[in-house]
């Protein structure tokens, strides 16, 4: 395992490289795009575990903290979607050289949408997409994020109670908001709000795609909305594996939580 800083366009990016522990033909690398804000922290252990397991299966894995997050340079308030896209693209370039093979993207939650967004910009350059619990609507994701602020003030009464509508209005007037300890810049909020997975369906070439979700029950189906996108991707001709496995929403859990069936399902697809 190698810990280092990758040069990003806005500042250096804390990165952890898990080189493949055994040979694999053809060689494959994966760059991980983490989820948004606090979810990134809560999912860190699962990402680290999966990275090690993939390395044992012969995959070179690069985990990175995008600009303004984790141990990378910059403040969250200065982060922009364009910077994050560029960070991921640079990570792909770095890993392409090290792995001397193809590089795919592995994303969790909003990171899955980021991965799809980056892949859509240049699908020929990306080997595959591994999507964990993809966020399908950036707008909805933003609402949920803004609601964290409402939830924190839940036991207060009176006319000062905020709504997400008001928070969005303040963002549109150029105000950076503090949400659950994170400074959310209007430009980043705007970018997230405008993202829809649906709009990438026709822009991903024929990339092989792995789509995994966790569900509370054994043998559960994918969420309805996910199934719609998955079907559309299948019609586009993508080689696709899509399923739900039993597991918890580890990216949201208060205590570090693992989803062992998700680790296993991911491993199985790389054996």
């Amino acid at each position: 395992m190698e810990v280092f800083f990758l040069e990003g366009s806005q500042g250096r990016l804390f990165s952890i490289y898990h080189p493949a522990v055994r040979a694999r033909r053809p060689r494959l690398g994966l760059v991980y795009a983490p989820p948004f804000a606090e979810e990134m922290n809560r999912a860190r252990r699962m990402a680290a575990l999966q990275a090690r397991r993939l390395a044992e299966l012969g995959v070179d894995v690069l985990l990175l903290d995008p600009f303004g997050t984790g141990d990378s340079a910059g403040d969250f308030g200065d982060a922009r979607w364009e910077t994050w896209s560029d960070d991921i693209a640079r990570a792909v370039a770095w890993l392409s050289e090290r792995t001397d093979g193809q590089v795919g993207l592995w994303g969790l939650r909003l990171g899955a949408l980021l991965a799809a967004d980056v892949a859509a910009a240049d699908p020929d350059r990306i080997a595959c997409l591994v999507l964990w619990q993809p966020v399908l609507s950036g707008d909805r994701h933003l609402t949920q994020f803004l609601r964290l602020r409402l939830a924190a003030a839940m036991d207060k009464e009176g006319p000062d109670r905020e709504t997400t509508k008001e928070l969005r209005e303040r963002l549109s007037r150029g105000e950076t908001l503090e949400i659950a300890g994170y400074r959310l810049a209007p430009a980043l909020a705007d970018s997230i709000a405008s993202l829809q997975f649906q709009s990438h369906v026709h822009r991903l070439g024929r990339l092989p795609i792995i789509w995994l979700e966790v569900a509370s029950e054994e043998g559960a189906a994918l969420a309805d909305a996910s199934q719609g996108i998955v079907s559309a991707l299948e019609r586009q001709g993508h080689r696709l594996t899509a399923k739900a496995v039993s597991g918890e929403a580890f990216w949201a859990a208060q205590e570090i939580t693992l989803a062992p069936y998700l680790l296993q399902a991911t491993d199985d697809l790389f054996r």
């Binding site: 949920q144 036991d155 918890e248 929403a249 208060q254």
Partner: protein
């Protein structure tokens, strides 16, 4: 709403709670009087937001920000009652 329909709502609600709070089978024992916000430490802000999203998805309803209050989340019964109200709309 009939007794059977009310049972279905509470069971579906419990499913959402099971998915959101890391309590496993404990949720099976929840009934209308079980306390949520303020009673269960796992019910933090992120849990509230995830329960709200889970409910919106599970019941295909839209929850207004104004409805995200301590009262509605006080007990399983209060939340069930709220959902039934939205379904009746």
């Amino acid at each position: 709403m009939t007794v059977v329909e009310r049972m279905t709502v509470i069971e579906r609600l419990k499913r959402v709670l099971r998915e959101t709070l890391q309590l496993g089978d404990q949720v099976n024992a929840f009934d209308e009087s079980t306390g949520l916000f303020g009673s269960i430490p796992e019910f933090d802000s992120m849990a509230v937001v995830n329960v709200v999203s889970g409910l919106e998805e599970q019941f295909d309803i839209e929850i207004d920000d104004d409805d995200i209050t301590a009262e509605i989340f006080e007990t399983v019964g209060a939340l069930t009652h709220y959902i039934q109200g939205k379904l009746a709309d």
